[in-house]
């Protein structure tokens, strides 16, 4: 498993550039006046931006990495379920509650599926299992990894996350400066 996964980017600058490009694009779409008029709440807005940032990073990394796959899968799923909920709310407004439970159930089952079924479930009882479990929770898609893959993924994830944070910082500076 491991040798097939290349490190995402040899060049961190390239990674940052790609991420910034995607993220700014996503921000642009978020700041579409129609949408911005729609969601005024800060909380939702920041969540959307956060998700956009993660999405941008994960899509830059692509499907090479387990964590990016997991993030993309989660975001896609989340948007689906969100759309579902929104639809449901509308339906409730329209007094149409048919099929709701069925669809909800289906969505949940999809959500629970292992995003990376090829990877076999292997928990090794090591001394650091407590901390490893923590790390597993932090690194997306690492729930079912063995510890080598976990460390590998964590390395890559941290790399990308640091780049993401840096770019976001510069963007914030850029926006707040003017």
């Amino acid at each position: 498993m491991s040798p097939s996964q290349q490190p995402t980017e040899k060049n961190p600058t390239n990674l940052k550039n790609q991420f910034a490009r995607r993220f700014v694009r996503a921000l642009n779409s978020l700041h579409n006046p129609k949408k911005s008029a729609h969601d005024n709440q800060m909380h939702r807005r920041s969540r959307r931006i956060k998700i956009a940032a993660y999405n941008a990073m994960a899509s830059v990394v692509g499907s090479r990495r387990t964590w990016s796959r997991a993030v993309l899968w989660k975001i896609r799923n989340r948007s689906r379920t969100q759309g579902l909920f929104r639809n449901n709310r509308k339906r409730v407004d329209h007094q149409i509650v048919t099929n709701y439970h069925h669809r909800h159930h289906v969505k949940l089952s999809i959500k629970r599926r292992n995003p990376n079924p090829k990877r076999e479930v292997y928990f090794d009882p090591s001394r650091y299992s407590g901390q490893e479990a923590k790390l597993r929770k932090l690194v997306p898609g690492a729930e079912n990894m063995d510890s080598w893959c976990l460390v590998d993924e964590a390395t890559d994830y941290i790399n990308c996350l640091a780049a993401q944070v840096e770019v976001m910082k510069t963007l914030v500076d850029l926006y707040t400066a003017t």
Binding site: P12, N28, S147, V151, L171
Partner: protein
């Protein structure tokens, strides 16, 4: 060394296969011819004092193969001990056996000899006992009663042609005498010739001791020695198979080949193949071996001695050989396991896994600031977890900040986007940005609406802001230079193609040359 071993192993296998195949055909015709060789050998053996014979054989063998001389030094002692046991006539036996073994060894070791020859010689070696032994061992026959256990063994040996490992060992395990140890050790593949020699020597030596073998051979029927011979051959072929598989599987090369001899008593390495070893152990332990042989084996195991010689050897020779083989051992051992480390497959795999993890951990350590000083995996993992958490929190915080910042800058956003475009152009935000804008016509319209508003402000201010952004981003993008030239051209081209307002293009046009100057 590695290649030699492998080749030897192959050749041996071939020879044995050939031998097995040609057993029936070649053996019997050579009964007659064997007399000559055997008698001549017997003559040599009888005429020469025992030590001389063994020495000559040793020299011969040394010329044939580069085996440690200790192996052959060991023979005289062995024969002497045997001699102490038995009569002078008995002494002839070991010597002849050693000499014959020497010949055998030559056969085994020199692959240049055509297989039929080797088979013949082997047959000659093995078959002689029926005919030659009566001449050699008449006294001993009378002294030693025929061993019923040996008959059983011989009967079972016929089943050895199947090459089954456990089958091989079982009959040997049943042998009540010290012959156990040679047979147990014999499967060793690393230096099979020695194992072979030892096995045969042990048989003949025991022949001198117990005399079951010559007796049966000489008196009862000639088929039994042939069985014995076949047993030897088949034993080797059967043993060769695991050895070969080891070669291919272990990838340790010839060094590994020596280790991975199928004998359990030999290498500590050996234990790696836990399955075979466990079987082997069971097989070995199940027959209640005499104390002597077991003690030998255990001694050998403890020393990690690989050489099968330990068969008849006492601890002294075992030590010598282990020392001599230490140099070879060191070459490959560090690949798998160091001394004192567990060597079964699970622990080896576990060790490899841990090494891989720790190697990865080092990368991670370099990545996480402040983690390089930390020693200990637990603390390191803590640091890493904290770092990841802080990064994630930072992302959250920054997104919140972006969310708070943006609404306030609704007016400026599009201008910022334009500026971003400029900035991104310098930083390698390539054609994709432009594509994004073109794909979003409404936004483009907005931008076109927004930029004139910016255009109302002085171009100096815009330039200043852009320059500050450039500075800010330049700190982040450590080397934008690599991507600047090509992407910048593309960006300019795209901007022009996008058909922005004249004012905005003016602005951009006025600002961009300064960037171009500033950037490189």
């Amino acid at each position: 060394m590695a290649g030699e071993d492998e080749i030897e192993g192959r050749n041996r296998e071939d020879e044995q296969m050939h031998y097995n195949s040609t057993n029936l055909s070649s053996d019997w015709p050579f009964n007659a011819t064997n007399d000559l060789t055997n008698t001549s050998m017997a003559m040599v053996a009888s005429s020469n004092p025992m030590n001389n014979a063994s020495c000559s054989s040793a020299s011969m063998i040394d010329s044939f193969c580069q085996t440690p001389p200790t192996i052959w030094d060991h023979h005289p002692t062995n024969s002497q001990t045997l001699g102490a046991f038995s009569d002078l006539n008995m002494q002839n036996n070991p010597t002849t056996s050693s000499s014959s073994l020497g010949f055998r060894k030559g056969n085994l070791l020199t692959p240049s000899w055509p297989p039929p020859n080797s088979a013949i010689k082997r047959g000659g070696m093995f078959l002689p006992p029926p005919t030659a032994t009566p001449t050699m061992l008449p006294h001993t026959l009378s002294q030693f009663p025929a061993d019923s256990g040996f008959i059983e063994r011989a009967a079972r040996l016929s089943s050895f042609s199947a090459g089954n490992f456990e089958d091989m060992i079982n009959p040997f395990g049943n042998v009540p005498e010290s012959s156990m140890s040679p047979y147990n050790n014999r499967p060793v593949q690393g230096q099979p010739q020695e194992g072979f020699v030892n096995g045969f020597k042990s048989t003949s030596g025991e022949g001198s001791k117990d005399l079951p073998l010559p007796v049966d051979c000489g008196t009862n029927d000639g088929s039994q020695p042939k069985n014995d011979a076949r047993q030897g051959g088949s034993g080797f072929s059967g043993n060769n198979l695991p050895g070969e598989s080891e070669y291919s599987e272990g990838g340790a090369g010839g060094g590994g080949g020596q280790d991975e001899t199928s004998d359990e008593g030999l290498g500590s390495k050996k234990r790696r193949r836990s399955d075979q070893d466990s079987d082997y152990n069971q097989v070995k332990r199940s027959p209640q071996t005499p104390n002597e042989s077991t003690k030998n084996n255990t001694e050998i195991q403890q020393k990690g001695d690989k050489n099968p010689i330990s068969v008849a050897n006492k601890s002294k020779h075992g030590k010598q050989i282990s020392q001599s083989s230490d140099g070879q051992k060191e070459e490959y051992i560090h690949v798998r396991a160091r001394r004192g480390q567990a060597t079964n497959s699970h622990s080896l795999a576990e060790r490899v896994r841990r090494e891989k993890i720790s190697e990865r951990m080092k990368f991670l350590q370099d990545l996480v600031p402040g983690c390089s000083k930390v020693t200990g995996k637990a603390v390191m993992l803590d640091e890493i977890i904290n770092y990841v958490q802080s990064l994630q929190r930072q992302v959250e915080f920054l997104s919140m900040k972006l969310a708070t910042v943006n609404p306030r800058m609704d007016f400026n956003i599009e201008g910022l986007l334009a500026k971003d475009m400029g900035v991104s152009g310098t930083l390698g935000f390539g054609a994709d940005m432009a594509m994004a804008y073109t794909q979003n016509p409404s936004q483009l319209a907005i931008m076109q609406g927004g930029i004139p508003g910016l255009g109302s402000s002085s171009s100096d201010a815009v330039r200043r802001t852009i320059n500050s952004h450039l500075m800010a981003i330049g700190g982040v993008y450590k080397d934008p230079n690599s991507q600047v030239p090509n992407s910048w051209d593309d960006e300019l081209h795209n901007i022009v193609q996008m058909g922005l307002n004249p004012s905005s293009t003016q602005n951009l046009g006025s600002t961009t040359p300064s960037h171009l100057k500033a950037e490189p």
